[in-house]
Symmetry: C2
Subunit: 163 residues, 2 copies
Amino acid sequence: MTTDLGDDPLALDRQVCFALAVAARSVIGLYRPLLEPMGLTHPQYLVMLALWEGEPRSVKDLSSTLQLESATLSPLLKRLEAADYITRRRSIDDERLLVVELTDAGRALRAEAEKIPYAVVERLALPVSDLEDLHTSLSRVIRAAATPATTAAAPATTEAAPA
Amino acid sequence: MTTDLGDDPLALDRQVCFALAVAARSVIGLYRPLLEPMGLTHPQYLVMLALWEGEPRSVKDLSSTLQLESATLSPLLKRLEAADYITRRRSIDDERLLVVELTDAGRALRAEAEKIPYAVVERLALPVSDLEDLHTSLSRVIRAAATPATTAAAPATTEAAPA
DNA sequence: CATTAATAGTTAGCACACTAATTAATCGCG
DNA sequence: CGCGATTAATTAGTGTGCTAACTATTAATG
């Protein structure tokens, strides 16, 4: 029927969701002092990473790449525009699309940003293999969470099995 | 000197921080429909987990247990009080402390909540060993991030080594 | 070709999560 | 005892991140 999760399934220190929340906040917190001099928050930094990989990009594109709702990106992009790192304009081909491009200042920022990954890895002082393992585990969970729920009542424990 | 992070250190799909952010949002998103009938958000659920493990607890105590600022907990606890799941009163011994306790409704909610971990694990449809691996990796990173920064300029790559 | 569907963004409203500033209570030490 | 330093919460302000409702544009269909 159901997986055995031990005597106390509600034990806080066993919840993956809790560890995920704390780890995400902790690690993102390490970026704060590094990003602050560039005037970026962590989500804004992620948008810049996406743009440095390819320009121009629509909000829809950024939304699916970063797994963020366009409702979240809308005000965020306006702040990046106010900081003069990006420009926002409607596409000529399809006026539903908002085209986001880097400004010269936004492009120039990349050189500064390249130091950040090294600074974070050094700060964590963990073997890079540990970080790679974590990345692998995280990718698995992301994929699992994105997989549509099986409405079935039947299958079960850890592996789906046809009837 | 510095660790080799490959040809593009800024590649989005290699950033652990990005994977962490997406995974946290994705997994917490799975809880939303499960918690919504109980009138809880995910952070509120974590507070309830902490209280089900031991009562009463001060805000300070919850803050260090959940790794959340008391400024975040303050309004959250007021909402839990408004939902009649907890009570808030000042300690008699030390009036600086706010003592948080469960109401009968809050205690009763535990029975409902016990189904949640099973529902999430089943929904993810991942081997429990994968989740345990992830939890181990996350704990490592949390500990590493919590370790005070070595102001040193010397050490380096992945392992601290005395001179 | 007109009407309806679908798609892309924006806005509003709620709930975190952080920093900084404030308030209130307690502690430490001469 | 008294009084400055600490400690515990709260408040204010900014920035995500979500859902739901809305606007504008484009595509699809009879």
